[in-house]
Symmetry: C2
Subunit: 720 residues, 2 copies
């Protein structure tokens, strides 16, 4: 048979062989994505879901696809039988038998499967192993339905809390985001994509989407090349170079006048030449179209399409209608405005993903698999574990927490009390959706747990007065946080501040539990409420995790991955600013309300003996640092040991400190552990004044401790 | 005599001749600035002023300067006799007779001379002629005392209203700032610097200081090269290339990791190679020192000094102590880390300024001049004229303004009522300091004008109730606005909002008069107060100008040069954002409260017939646009006709619209004038995707009208 059909042949040879055989029309078809549920199925429940009993309609596929095949199918969320039926038809109905690629969302859970904490919560665990398990669980649930690729993880740095998509990020730090992203990618893609439980991961939104001007989604990003390379690209690089992620999504925005889908520097030079990215670049939904409609760098939709492929995008995402898109590329190849080389690069990239997934060799999914993988107990356990590890204690005056399990009367008050907040990209109907109220009731079946939504403040106050302790369940809902839900205020929304003040004034002990997608300016709460637990959007077992934390079954050790500002007027506020960033205002000291890396425990920790071993000059070996961490309290607990560094004098200005290592460890009372950090020298490289990467010799300061304000220091003298 | 002493010889030849004769020690001395008042005079009134009767002490000069001469003398504010005495000594006491250069502040007035409106107010006139007259008046008052150089104008773009130095800027627009800056420079430098009434102007703070991260002074600026070139540098370029400003101040901050005093790209490539800058670059006070202490790009103060000179700075400003500074440069020349070429470039630049000023040929000032120039009537008239033209009417419901001169009882209430607010870089004791209260009293000697500072709100309300009309004199004082006075809130400070609400509730007609250095978030006032006049800091005749405006002797025609946001949570907010900047929030539409270019009049204007003449292809001629403006009301008045443009489709994303022309005209009732705008084609050049300047052929949209929201459009098709 043809070389490209031989499973044992090297993939690059198979691609080349196949590419040689393809017509221009067949090629451009591979660069197009088709919406599935609404176009080729007999019934759909919404625009993104085929009905469970829907039939694949070959006559519709015939009209849509003819005999040219299909690049990818999206917004289908198929049953495995449906995916197989479509795949069978696609393979049979294109000359060369090229299979379809099924793509779906999977940010913190796949479709109706296990609901995991939102990424901002997952990141709060500072536990890449959980990120890997999350990625693997989502992949297994997806692939078992025939889905090959997931539009995740989000590796933008959340530097503007006004942005509604902060909840989708792993926070503000490039190193932490890089490690969590790598772990998710490794979990999702596994050791091989050619399995029945792994999928292509697709880091997004390439690149720097999390610093939009004004905090508004898709707005321009104002940075120069050094910040781009040393901060923004750094969060993506591990997922590509170490994790070999086979997808990347090009974002909506522009940087310094160049939109992401029209930027060959980023999509070709950095991604492919410098990082050797092997997968394909997908436009964010409509991002190519916006070259014409919003950015005004293309004179027509057709120009936009060709510009994007020329710049390094490989597949459109509902940008142009199918016929005009494909015609545009064909015309551009004919008139020379799109080179055959660029077109082939795009086709090759898509085909490589399909070959890597084994779709040419085993295109169908075992239809028995889904029932085993969908919400598998192991996945549910990961979700709960993640939620428990994400709980971030911000304040706990006089050891109000943990509450005694013997507490008799507990009032849960607030709009987040009787509902599980999942955050965007999950329906709140999915999963177990355990609310705080339910979580407490389950944990303390004999207690009297009352609930008030807080709509009527006097009524809420009355309930509070009847309780021994009040749990204020506040924060944000979808529509206030999430994609497209940017805010110009970071205060508690609606009547929540007023409600909190009134209930606090009632005189009962109050614990504020926040479920929200971004830092909130809770300065009043920090001053007046004795205990504050940041739960983010903790997934389907969130209420259970919160209850177990409040009542001491879980000792919280989540840490902030994003700075909480005192007021919105001090933005941007992130810990790894340059030393020349000044903080004082006439009306505020401008310091964070809660800093990056911060979080309390029911026990306490001490750091001693930070020792750093410089690598032998010329050895290229890792820098090794050790620190002793001791649990100085009387409860076992986890601590997230954090290592920060800065070059004391550099050729360019560098952040006042940067996270370069972290380790979440468990310590029994009075136990001491020595934590070892290995820092590859190249991790310290700066994009120097000459525009080159360099690890600069000289002295470096290290800090180790439990937050970005760690004070235990050591000095490293690095010789080249 | 030596060539360099021959007044008739070409300056470059004189410099070369002199340079050849100088020792290394003499050279580096030229790059140093000395504080005058405290070091060489018998008495000083403060650190920046010699006492009027102070004597120059040669023995102190001898100890300080020996026989090596002196680069510049600053912080002296000499009497002319003092300047002459020092100059005489300096020339006599260095081998080659090189004169000293006297440098002082002159932002909106020189020393105790005429106090002009702060730059943000001057800009509100949209009248470059007044800027030129202001520059000329300041120069004449300065030079008459022996001062040769003024540390102004400020050409940073005020894109962050939190920044305390917004008041020193001409606003947020690069074109307007460029025109005002050029006019100021032309006024200050005149046709020749070798006169008794012109001084070197020194545009600052090079470059982009007005976009500091977090709005805090001297913080990093995050932009890429395109924004740097197309926006930030554009405000400086006319002052250098057309105005031939002979000084530039390198700013404190870094852009993308490179501090301004260590940036050869900006200080050499752009400033000298591309713009042919002929003057010298001065460090902002301590900016070189900060390379070591703050930016950490230099390992010692000595390194910082050499790095700065190597990068294109030519004179330090109290960075290092004198001996270590000069030794550092000498050592660096000796060890090769500072080239002779760079050192000579710096010395040559300083000497060129001294030759250009004629200091070698007529080093002394006519001591009879000062009494004629100091607060000359013509200068005072410019100040008043500027203040009148700067008055910016933001709201005027039901023609509340102008108030009838027959008004009997007027209450002036608020902390800005009984004091002339000048803004930073002026002492409030200078000049006539006419307050609003005094201005009204002078204008209406028979009315009862009461005043209350507003400290006690009930007392203020009582006074309001006794009045026929209330003038609320609110805003900011020094310490809330000004250098180092950045804010994290833009609300009315202190109790002013509460005061305003209480007084408004008293039921009398209220006019809000603002004197402030930055846009304030006066959303409540816009909704509830019938009339709002923005007066900025209007100089010594401010109270007179305000009174004449309130009572109709002056028809206001000032226009905003900076956007007023609704809330601080929508920053940055400037009109010329890119089209992909999105504005909606879940809690706000994010639109400006008052847009750039906006201002009302006591009459009304209509725009008709915007017609654009494309230049003949290949001619390189200007684009010419005309629009008819008609005064449709019943009062004479000025209108600021504004022309905005954008390229419809460009190779890179460009602002949604950019100011490309403006003209302040006077129209009698029912009069129509045709305004003609000449737009040089190169004004439309973009820094394209290839990193080159290009005027791109294609279609452009033009808008003409009375603000940045102008709706009258025309289309231009530009052929190359």
């Amino acid at each position: 048979s043809a070389l490209y059909r031989q499973a044992g042949a090297p993939i690059e040879d198979r691609i080349s062989d196949l590419l040689r055989r393809m017509t221009l029309e067949e090629k451009v078809r591979q660069l197009d994505m088709y919406s599935g549920a609404t176009s080729i199925m007999s019934r759909h429940t919404d625009d993104t879901h085929a009905a469970a009993d829907a039939l694949f309609l070959p006559e519709k596929a015939e009209a849509l696809w003819g005999d040219l095949g299909v690049g990818s199918v999206h917004d289908l969320n198929p049953a495995p039988e449906q995916a197989n039926a479509i795949q069978r038809w696609v393979i049979a109905h294109n000359r060369l038998g090229i299979p379809a690629l099924f793509i779906e969302e999977g940010l913190h859970g796949f479709d109706t499967g296990t609901v995991f904490p939102a990424p901002i919560g997952l990141a709060a665990t500072w536990n890449p192993q959980i990120a890997q398990q999350t990625g693997a669980a989502i992949a297994a649930e997806a692939r078992a339905t025939g889905v090959d690729m997931i539009l995740a993880p989000v590796l933008d740095l959340a530097r503007d809390p006004r942005w509604g998509r902060v909840e989708e990020d792993f926070g503000e730090d490039p190193y932490l985001t890089g490690r969590m992203g790598l772990a998710y990618v490794r979990g999702a893609q596994g050791g091989s994509l050619s399995t029945d439980h792994t999928v292509v991961a697709e880091p997004k939104h390439f690149v720097a989407h999390g610093s939009p001007e004004g905090g508004t989604n898709t707005s321009p990003v104002h940075i120069g090349e050094r910040e781009l390379r040393m901060v923004m690209l750094r969060s993506f690089e591990p997922a590509i170079t170490e994790g070999h992620a086979m997808g990347v999504m090009a974002a909506y925005h522009e940087i310094d006048g160049i939109p992401m889908t029209a930027d060959p520097f980023l999509l070709k030079t950095v991604l492919r030449n410098e990082w050797a990215f092997q997968g394909f670049v997908l436009s964010d939904l409509g991002a190519i179209k916006r070259l014409y409609t919003v950015h005004h760098v293309a004179g027509s939709l057709a120009d936009a399409a060709c510009m994007a492929i020329r710049s390094g995008v490989d597949m459109q995402f509902y940008d142009l209608d199918h016929a005009p898109f494909q015609k545009a590329l064909i015309d551009c190849v004919h008139n020379g405005t799109l080179s055959q080389t660029d077109l082939d690069r795009a086709v090759r990239s898509v085909l490589r993903v399909k070959f890597s997934l084994g779709l040419f060799d085993h295109p169908f999914v075992d239809t028995n698999l889904n029932v085993k993988e969908h919400r598998a107990p192991a996945h549910l356990a990961v979700s709960l574990h993640s939620a428990l590890e994400s709980m971030t204690l911000l304040k706990n005056d006089n050891h109000l927490l943990p509450l005694a399990k013997t507490t008799q009367r507990i009032a849960v008050i607030g709009p987040n009390g009787n509902i599980a907040r999942y955050g965007d990209y999950e329906k709140e109907a999915n999963g177990e959706h355990i609310s705080i109220l339910q979580g407490i009731q389950n944990l303390l079946p004999h207690a009297t747990v009352t609930f008030d939504e807080g709509t009527s403040i006097p009524q809420a106050v009355a309930k509070a007065k009847d309780a021994d302790v009040v749990v204020m369940a506040l924060g944000e809902k979808l529509g206030i946080s999430g994609e497209g839900f940017d805010r110009s205020s970071l205060d508690l929304p609606g009547n929540q501040q007023e409600l909190l003040e009134a209930v606090t004034a009632a005189g009962r002990p109050v614990v504020l539990v926040l479920q929200n997608g971004r830092p909130l300016t809770i300065r009043w709460a920090k001053e007046h409420v004795p205990a504050i637990l940041e739960a983010w959007y903790p997934g389907e077992f969130g209420g259970k995790a919160i209850a177990e934390t409040l009542f001491g079954d879980n000792n919280p050790a989540g840490r902030l991955t994003i700075t909480f500002p005192q007021t919105i007027g001090q933005l941007p506020d992130y810990y790894n600013s340059d030393p020349s960033r000044m903080y004082g205002y006439t009306d505020s000291n401008g310091r964070p309300l809660f800093p990056f890396g911060f979080g309390l425990s029911y026990t306490t920790f001490r750091y001693d003996h930070l020792i750093v071993q410089p690598p032998a000059p010329g050895s290229g070996a890792d820098i090794q640092a050790t620190v002793e961490v001791t649990n100085t309290g009387d409860r076992p607990g986890d601590e997230v040991a954090q290592l920060y560094m800065r070059e004391d004098v550099g050729s360019v200005e560098t952040p006042r400190r940067s996270l370069e290592g972290f380790s979440r460890i468990h310590l029994n009372p009075q136990e001491t552990q020595t934590v070892t950090f290995h820092i590859p020298q190249k991790q310290l490289a700066v994009w120097n004044a000459e525009g080159k990467w360099a690890v600069e010799p000289g002295s470096y300061t290290l800090w180790a401790g439990g937050s970005s304000q760690a004070t235990l220091t050591a000095q490293l003298h690095l010789r080249p």
